[in-house]
Each structure stands twice: as structure tokens, then as C-alpha cells.
Symmetry: C2
Subunit: 513 residues, 2 copies
Amino acid sequence: MNAIGMVSGKLWTGFLGPRIGLCNNALRAMSCHTNTQIVEEVAKLLELKAQLGTDDGKQMFALKTPKGTRDYNPKQMAIRESVFNTIISCFKRHGAETIDTPVFELKETLTGKYGEDSKLIYDLKDQGGELLSLRYDLTVPFARYLAMNKISNIKRYHIAKVYRRDNPAMTKGRYREFYQCDFDIAGQYDPMIPDAECIKVVHEILAELQLGDFRIKVNDRRILDGMFAVCGVPDDKFRAICSTVDKLDKASWEEVKNEMVGEKGLAPEAADRIGEYVRMHGGFDLAEKLLQDPQLSQNKHALEGLTDMKDLFKYLELFKITDKVIFDLSLARGLDYYTGVIYEAVLIRPQNVHPSEELVSVGSVAGGGRYDGLVGMFDHKGRKVPCVGVSVGIERVFSILEQKAEASEEKIRTTETQVLVASAQKNLLEERLKLTSELWDAGIKAEVLYKKNPKLLSQLQHCEETGIPLVAIIGEQELKEGVVKLRNVATREEVDVSRVTLVEEIKKRSIQS
Amino acid sequence: MNAIGMVSGKLWTGFLGPRIGLCNNALRAMSCHTNTQIVEEVAKLLELKAQLGTDDGKQMFALKTPKGTRDYNPKQMAIRESVFNTIISCFKRHGAETIDTPVFELKETLTGKYGEDSKLIYDLKDQGGELLSLRYDLTVPFARYLAMNKISNIKRYHIAKVYRRDNPAMTKGRYREFYQCDFDIAGQYDPMIPDAECIKVVHEILAELQLGDFRIKVNDRRILDGMFAVCGVPDDKFRAICSTVDKLDKASWEEVKNEMVGEKGLAPEAADRIGEYVRMHGGFDLAEKLLQDPQLSQNKHALEGLTDMKDLFKYLELFKITDKVIFDLSLARGLDYYTGVIYEAVLIRPQNVHPSEELVSVGSVAGGGRYDGLVGMFDHKGRKVPCVGVSVGIERVFSILEQKAEASEEKIRTTETQVLVASAQKNLLEERLKLTSELWDAGIKAEVLYKKNPKLLSQLQHCEETGIPLVAIIGEQELKEGVVKLRNVATREEVDVSRVTLVEEIKKRSIQS
């Protein structure tokens, strides 16, 4: 009897619980390096076994969603809908149109756009025909869309799911399938005006969602490039070092420095000089101060970036949002395609806010920046369309709001039904159906139980459980008199209403409730 | 110089046009069987060439969406949104909640659910970890969701994209990525009541979308099975013959018969007997008539199906929709999982409607049926949850409405912007930004051009092009006086409005327009 045989009777690979249990108990005697390794090996074997079917001939398989994904139940959908409404309202307030693109793109469309992150792209199996990949973000499809349709200016939003074969951390809202809510402005405009609007959009959304305090960090790829140059980073290492700097929000400076020197082969002195810069943060004043930096100010890229940064803060001042925006030289953002300003919004744990500047973030909820070269990569004449945009990652927002909803006593309704058509008497199914149909045709949201002779109590219970506020009760007497007994579920008040005015009466009462 | 070399200078594989031209002209001299074959071969070579890059070393690739997919531009999105609103309103009117599931499922979740159509499933590449497939419909994920969460009754809708590696016919609205709008009722109820509601839902949606006349064909798998039995189809051929009968909406009886006899090995006499039944259509009366059929009425399955069919028509009569519903014995529907009533809605070309029964359909826009066994396939104890549902396929609906919109003169607005903040004078960017920001914060949908000194004319043109009804114009004088010149774009009327009441004035005018 082997380890697998021991548990096959209870085999159900859909739950993590049994796997862990298996590792701790049944396999304790096995020689192994770590529990994790065993768990992984066993999981693989169980998967294989599930594919082969169980001993009794009945096919068994994991009853689960793929790793890193989840279903949304009706309550979660109600929260999701309200978050989307807030975000879409904001995008529309700023005059954006919307587009949609396919969930997959030609594989080559995504190639060379994401730097080190490219390994996280989901590919489709080659089943003959084109090679396809699931979209990794909404920005590259947007750029492809602009180039393909020769569009040189547009302000659009796009809300859709994207896919990354990342290590999921679902309690923190990190999934392999997740929504992005993107707002982008494409076109040749005067510097930093659309860029400032994107930051304003993030500010409005985060303020309106009431998730607690937040900060929006900004930086500029040109400032980073200038900084790397004056610190002595060789040109061909800029992007690699940039990716490493990007890890500063999760890792310590020591770890980041080790990666720069060890993995990326940077001189320790260069790393140390970078270390000095990336500790800096401020606002308009910091940009001015760095413009006085004897080395940085000599670098063309840094000079441009810093001058624009001053303009950006001037516009943010007009928008009255500089209290939440930090010019932070450690902000790098990993994606290859950024060319100018970059930004990232983080939520701050309210309990940890104290006068010192050491704010503990619970993670990024929005990010973006300027990418002036991306559309040109798709245009066969290399025509450039300057773009700037922001992407709101709402899974983390959902997590927070779901936890809030669970903690509160408030009941979330998942339907909008205004009235249940019911009866206390038998053999009135046809009359109930007829009345319900009349209500539907009049635009009333109505339900009826799918039983020939349901008990009145179970009909009332259905209303209580699902929050239906009204019951329209019919019986022989009511039918004879041409009336309906309209009952208020909460107050238990009942009133006879003429069938002719029923729709009107329901509408009147629905506005009140 | 070969055929490919001849055109490589203009190589751009994204458009179909050049490919066709290539076949007709450059390749005419080549020996070949059909033009189609050449086109296919050339397309393959062009794809290969695109992947390898062009001669000048610059990587070239097809600037296109994957085969059978499309982008939605802002105008198409506006149409899509209005169609969704109609459909969602209907689903909510019938008391449905909503859920969402991942775009991919474990491959094994989809295995054995779709019969012959399984070959059309998109698989993901094995990149380590679980084997995944894109969802083929929303029904199987729904059943998986019910089993996984041990839900025994729910009425839910789900609107999402599904994926099929089918032969696309995009002008007819047949895509490889397309939306389904599903409404399903799960639970143990009295016969045919939820089934009738599903048909009512289809009727409401198609009537409201105003796509022209339509019919909803209904049949029952049990009647089909009974029919096959009494016609002498061996038990193990039921599903295969059912798939073939399903083709009757696109193929002639002769073709279908040939497939039954030739490919599926059915005796010609059995096929002929099926041929007699599948010509029948009617309503309540046909069900009654068939209940008198000496053979069919002896079959247990057919008896159940026909008895239920009578009930169904009784309920549809109460819903007042029998004029659009046809009991049609040729309706089969290919999917394996149906167990009871099945239905399919088809649009009818208005110009072809004449008193005879020969209605020309422009294709199916909705379909569904009862699937009482599907959830049990996912439950490890085999617990059954009876389900019935309908899926509205809206791509065809979009195609029709897009053609309508193009034909009409009416301009579709793609943004909701209420006001553009503008200026006729120079150096007022900051004042424009400040005012725009004030409007955003007050919930007004406002835009401002991203130029330091735009011309008033170009600001007004932007309003005309995008349908913005109001312009808030500021100049030195207005700023001094604390007013804004509010201009109605359509009437060109201008009125000075105090800055204090501006928001109110804009709101007032937005309701009017």
C-alpha cells in the first residue's frame, strides 16, 4: 500500500485541506526535504489519478476553479457592480468612451512588451492556426487597436479581465484572473495635462470608494534613466536595474542591492549611489531641489523629467490633490513600455498612520504612466501616438469591501424583485401565473413560486429571505371581486387593491421602500 | 522570384483584401484545385513569414485580432450597452441574481459535456500546473458552480464571453469569441413552470429589442428519444442521430438523411420514418395528436414528454405568447446534456413572411432547455439538481442593430460629457483646469482640451463632433466678474452665469437636453 493508495477512498482533490493533512500524517515517514515538496508531488499524483478515474470506474475530478481564480457569488457580484458603477461614473465624468478587445491576442502582439514579466503570459495550445495568448493587460491591446485603426487621439476606458500566471495570494486579492479598469488618453498634447488628469481620476475613484487613506506615488522613467546614468549604470542594464528597483515596495534595500550587484552584475558603488536617490520623496520642492543637483541636472533625460514633474505638481495643485501625491524616486514599475511619468496608488492601513513618513501600505490598487512608444511598435510605418493612462486593479478593492460587508450586519439584496405573486389557496397556479405575467408585461419585477400549491408561509418566507418587500395575494374571493391583497412584508399590513390599479400601487410603494 | 517574393514589399497580412487579390492575379498561373486552397496555403506562408520578420530586419507581424474575433469600437459599445440593458432588465424583472465564473475551467470539467462539439474547445498550453480550457458555454460552469457550492436552488443570470473554435462567419454574427446571456432556474419544482418562464423571458427580450418577427421552436429530448426508439434507431445511436437531426435548420432533409444512413449507419427505413416525424410542427394540438399516435404513445419517454408539452403550452397560453411558439419535432439541439424540453428562437426575415408556413429564418438568436443530469455529473455523491435555462446569443443581434444604426442618419453619442470648459484667450490653461476640476468634484461630466492655448473654434468643433451640448467659456473679463459664459452649442445662445450657480445651471440644462 503506497501513500496514494492509503487515501484514495476519500480522494477529493478539490480541497486544499486533505492535501495538507496527507502531507503531515500519512507521509511523515517518507524521506523528503520539505513539506512543500511533498505537497506538490502528491498534488501532481492526485491530479494524474483524478484524470485516470477512480477504482470504481466512475470518473472523479477536482471540483474547483483553476488555481488563482474564483467564482463570484451573487453577493460578491452586488459589491462588484457597485464598485464598477463608481469607477465607470468617474471615467464618464472625464469624458471617456469605451472599447472592448478579445480576451486573447496573437502571441506576437504581446511579445517584447512586458520585459521580465513575459514569462507570466498564458499561451493557448497550438490547435492549428494562429498562436494565441491571453491578454496580460489592457494597455498592449489598446495600443494594437490604435495602430490597427489608425486612431491618433482618443480618451477611452476599458474594463475587462486580464491573465497572469503569477503566484496567487488570493486573501490579498492577488489572482491569476483579475479585472483591470483602464482609463487612457492618446494624442499629441501639451505636456503633463492629460497625465495630471489620470492622477486626478485615480484620486476621485479612491476617495469615492472610501477604502481608507491612500497615497499616489509618482516618478518619471526619464528621471530614473538619468539617475541610472549619473550613478554609473551601463546603458544596456537600465531596464534590468529598473525592474529591480521596482521591487523596493516589497523588499528591503539590502535585498534589492544584492539583486543589483549579484544577479544583475552592477558595481556596488553604483548601487550605493542609486540607494541614495531612491530614498528621496517629496513634491514640487523635491523636483526643484533635484534640478539643482549638479550631476542629475546635466543629464538631458533627467532635466526633461524634472521640469515636467514641476508642471505636473502645478496642475495637481489646481486639482487640489497634492496632499495625497508623493514624488518618490524609488517608484520604478516593471513594465518595459513606460517612457515618461509613472504612478502607483497604494492604500494605507489607517491604524498605522502616524506623523512620521513611514506609511505602511497594504498594496497597490492603481498604477500607470506614459507610454509614447508602444503604438509605434505596432504601426508598420512606426507612427507614434503618445499615450498616458491608468489602470485600477479592483480585486484588492473587492477583498476589502467584501470583508467590510461581512463584518457589518447589513444584508445585501442580490435581486431587485418588487413583488411576489402568492396565494393561500390551492389550485390557483394558473391564476398566479396569469397575474405574474401581467406584472412582467407592465415592467414590474415579479416572482412566483414554481409549485402548484405552495404554502402561504413558504411564500412569505421566500420574501423574507430574499428581501422582496411586497406580496400580491390572490384567492377565490379576490378573483371574484377583481382585487388583489397587497401585503407589506416588513409591516405585515394588508390592503385590497383593485386589479386595475395594481401596477400603479406597486410602483408607488417601490419608490417609498 | 516566387509567388511570395512578388508581394513581400507590400506584405501586410492583417487584411483579407490583398490575399484574395493575390490568389486571383499573381497565382493564376499556378496549378491548383481551387482558389480557396491557394488562399489558405498563401495565408499560412504569409503567417510564417510574418513570424520570421521581414527582410529589413524589422519585425513585422499581422496587425489584427485573432481569427473569428473582433474589437468593439465606441459606437459598437454604445449599441452593446443598450442591448445588455434590455436583457439585464428582463432578467432582473424575473427575479434573477447574477454570478460570474472564470473564463477558463479545468479541462476535465468540460470533458464529456458537449458530444461532437468537444473538438471546438480551446485548450490552454500546458505551461506546468493544471490543464485548462476556455469555457465553451456558461451552462457547464454554472453546473460546476452549483455542485461545488452545494446549491440546490437558484435563479441566476450570467452574461459573459464564451469560446468556440468554430468556422467563423462574422458578417452573420458568428464569432469564435462571443457573448452569451444566460438565464437559468435550478431547483426541484413542479413540471414545466420554470421551463415556461424561460420561454417567456426569450419572448420579452426579442420583442423588446425590436429585431423584427421571430419564432420560438420547442421540442423535448424525451419526445426525440421516443421517436428514435419507435423509428428503430438503436439505443447507442440516439445521441449521434440527434446531432444529425439538429442540422435540419441549415441542411436539407436529403443531406441529413444521407448523413444518418451513410455516416451514422442507420437503416434507410428508420431514417424515412424519422423523416415523417420531423416534418411535423404545431402547438398544443400536435401534442394531443401525437399522444394518440399508436406507437409513440406506447413509449414511456415520449408519453412523458408529450404530456409535459401540453402543460407547457397551457402556461404559454396564460403568458399570451403561443402565437410565437411552435412545437417542432425537427428541433434537436446538439449538446449532450439536455434531458427534457428544448427550445430555440429564430428571427424571421420580415420581407419573406407570407401566409404559408415556410418561414425563412436568419438564424438562431437564443436557445436552451432542461438539463437535469448535468449538476449530478459534478457532484461526487451524484446528487441531482434539475435545471432549465436559456442562452441569448447577442452577436447576431449586434450585427442587425449595427446595420440598422449605420443605415439610419441618427448620430450615436459615445460619451456623456455635459460641458466643455473653454477659453477664447491665451494663457488661461490654469484657469480652465481649475474650473474643470471644480465641475468634476461637483459631479458634472466635463472636458477640457489638453492644449495650453487652443483656438475657440477648435474647442467648439470638438463639441460638435462629440455632441457635447454646452460650453463654459472663461476670459479675463469673466474671471474678474466671477461669471462664466455658458453657451448652448446647438442654438449658439450665450448667457453669463455666476460661478456660484454654474453647477446648478449646467444640471438644469442637461435635463432639458
